[in-house]
């Protein structure tokens, strides 16, 4: 097990508000897999990534039963030790890559500064040459053809797709065990999107680098990930292998989500409505107690005001009082 998080709670402490933005969520990842973390906007996906890497601001407090990284509990370690492990083993890429690169520094310099000292073999005098060589190899590796031009450019002179490739290049230089991709293809054209996703997949298979793919795009998760975890309003809904979940979802939300994907091959009538749940996701100020899907759930009953425990069944982990497809 690469990563094993149990009952993670992230609390927002504000003068007007005191809520659990993530409420007892669990997630575990196998070594070398692509794991999709899916949820609507505001369901706490990015928050999870930040809690994992320890980059949350002071307004948030993080609690968990355990947060095991290769058998070590990250929350029990000292701040410094934790930083070291995270810097060594994890890397992160973001949505809007062009805004995630320092706008006043050239790409080359930005790549140079993240090259770890251990990469250099030659003497101090050949450093300059070596740096250039390493940076160029990296750019080629992530599939940038005009690497020379890219090396000398400022971020605003490159397209979003190129910027994301640069971000990935900077992320893989330390050959991390886990790459956290926080909506890496948000607001990109579909061809660029496919390029980026292919690149991630290639890195996953060739370098055995696990990827935590955080997205709201169900289709790319279905296409590229082996396992997935569904989040709703900060509560984990269901997790398991993608194939199983597709075939037999236990949670009503999961089923609903899959049916909401438009399918072009089936006999959908023209101008018919896609199936959705009534209502909208609750804002942080008005979270329902118990199962947060409660007010919108078609199968909600009296028990749903109590937070459901997660149940493990045939490799699925789900939290629902009244699951479907059980028979």
């Amino acid at each position: 097990m690469l990563l094993d998080v149990r009952n993670l709670t992230v609390k927002l402490n504000n003068d007007t508000l005191d809520v659990n933005a993530i409420d007892k969520m669990s997630l575990s990842m196998r070594d070398g897999s692509i794991h999709g973390l899916v949820g609507e906007t505001g369901s706490g996906k990015s928050l999870f990534a930040k809690a994992l890497t320890g980059t949350l601001s002071e307004k948030w407090t993080v609690q968990a039963d355990r947060m095991f990284w290769q058998g070590e509990d990250l929350l029990k370690l000292s701040e410094e030790k934790r930083r070291q492990i995270i810097n060594r083993d994890m890397a992160m890429i973001f949505q809007e890559p062009s805004r995630s690169l320092d706008p006043t520094v050239t790409i080359g310099e930005q790549i140079n500064e993240v090259i770890p000292k251990s990469e250099f073999q030659g003497s101090i005098w050949s450093r300059r040459q070596e740096r250039l060589q390493i940076a160029k190899n990296l750019l080629i590796k992530v599939g940038i053809k005009h690497y020379q031009q890219c090396y000398e450019s400022y971020p605003h002179e490159l397209s979003e797709g190129l910027c994301q490739k640069v971000m990935i290049a900077m992320a893989i230089i330390r050959s991390p065990k886990l790459l956290i991709a926080d909506e890496p293809t948000d607001a990109m054209e579909s061809t660029t999107k496919i390029q980026i996703m292919r690149l991630l997949q290639k890195l996953n298979t060739q370098k055995n680098m696990s990827v935590l793919l955080i997205t709201h795009d169900l289709e790319s998760v279905i296409n590229y990930a082996q396992e997935m975890t569904l989040l709703y309003s900060g509560q984990s809904v269901e997790s398991g292998s993608v194939r199983d979940l597709l075939k037999r979802p236990y949670h009503p939300y999961t089923e609903n989500l899959f049916t909401s994907i438009p399918k072009f091959n089936t006999d959908t009538r023209p101008k018919s409505r896609l199936q959705t749940l009534p209502g909208s996701t609750p804002p942080l100020q008005h979270l329902p107690i118990g199962c947060r899907l409660g007010p919108r759930c078609p199968r909600a009953q009296k028990e749903c005001v109590v937070t459901p425990k997660s149940v493990k069944l045939k490799g699925h982990l789900f939290s629902c009082h009244h699951p479907i497809n059980l028979d």
Binding site: M90, F94, S100, M167
Partner: protein, 343 residues
């Protein structure tokens, strides 16, 4: 880039023309006869008056008068001062170095204190240290500069008797003026006891410099702080945090640079404040600089001097502003992007 430069220089010229028109019209707006106001010679015989009127082109149309004025200004002829009857340009150049010297030291103090404190406050936003720096800056920002000067004199001169109250040097020492910059002049002079003279000059410098630096320093702290807070919230800083940089690398390589670049054009405002403050500081500490000279000129109703000082000081400010903008354009890649985008 070339087009940008051209545009800036065009702006510089038009603004300078506007300033010169304003300065020219002052000669007519001031009470008294324009001939006397432009030339600076108060008691003229009738024939002298006619001659001057001819040479200054004041008997022709306003436009021709203006052209003649412009020509004289370019040749450095601003008439003579009412009070001393010496050419104004000479007077001006005599007092300019003292002001520049004082302002330079104040600017140095401002930057040395303002930038790091602003950076620190911005990074530690909402912590205790930020609150302290920010409150002190706000409080200092609200103290009228002439009161600061008075307080300094009251505390350090009258009560403690530590520092001298006025002037650039004790009257005992006489340093021949070569460049006008006192500290340079002392080095160039052949005085026997140079170190004593140096200490004396520096002791005279402390209070005016401190007085002058207070307001600009608080401004710099404020600008730097809000700029740093803005930068710290940007996604690229968060991204850099996950790249495994130490906080020191992060601050020196990314935060400082990105926070400083956008406030470079605002430094024009800083110079503006500096000039205003210099005028008052010089009056309080009897510093023989431009500010003192201008105020003296107003007391004496020395119109040619006022007119010339408006023209020269305003031109200097405009040039500094334009230079700052061009410098900003050179060093900030984002500006080039905006310019290319709107071209």
């Amino acid at each position: 880039m070339f087009v940008y430069l051209l545009r800036r220089i065009n702006l510089l010229f038009t603004t300078l023309i506007v300033i010169s028109v304003m300065s020219f019209s002052l000669g007519h707006l001031f009470p008294g006869d324009p001939v006397i106001n432009f030339s600076g010679k108060p008691s003229l015989t009738y024939s002298e008056y006619q001659d001057l009127s001819q040479t200054l082109a004041l008997d022709k149309s306003y436009f021709e008068q203006y052209l003649a004025y412009l020509k004289r200004s370019f040749n450095g002829d601003f008439g003579v001062s009412f009070s001393s009857q010496k050419p104004i340009l000479d007077e001006f150049l005599r007092v300019l170095p003292a002001s520049i010297e004082l302002s330079l030291y104040a600017l140095l103090v401002t930057l040395v204190f303002g930038l790091p404190l602003g950076l620190l406050a911005g990074i530690k936003n909402n912590r205790l240290i930020d609150r302290i720096i920010f409150s002190v800056a706000t409080i200092l920002n609200s103290i009228p500069i002439f009161w600061v000067g008075l307080l300094f004199i009251l505390i350090f001169t009258l009560n403690m008797n530590w520092l001298p109250m006025s002037g650039r040097l004790t009257l005992l020492y006489e340093v021949p003026s070569i460049t006008g910059f006192l500290l340079v002049d002392i080095a160039l002079s052949d005085l026997a006891n140079k170190s004593y003279v140096y200490t004396d000059a520096l002791r005279h410098l402390i209070l005016p410099t401190a007085t002058l630096a207070v307001l600009p320093a608080t401004l710099v702290i404020g600008m730097m702080r809000s700029s740093v807070i803005h930068v710290m919230g940007m996604p690229y800083i968060k991204a850099a945090q996950t790249k495994g940089l130490t906080s020191w690398q992060l601050i020196t390589r990314h935060v400082f640079r990105n926070a400083l670049l956008p406030i470079i054009p605002q430094f024009g405002l800083l110079f503006n404040t500096l000039v205003t403050s210099t005028m008052i500081t010089e009056v309080i500490f009897s510093w023989p600089g431009i500010g003192n000279w201008i105020i003296e000129a107003i007391y004496q109703r020395d119109f040619p001097a006022i007119q010339a000082s408006l023209l020269i000081v305003a031109s200097m400010m405009i040039s500094i502003n334009v230079l700052l903008e061009i410098a900003h354009m050179m060093v900030n890649p984002l500006m080039r992007k905006e310019f290319n985008a709107t071209k």
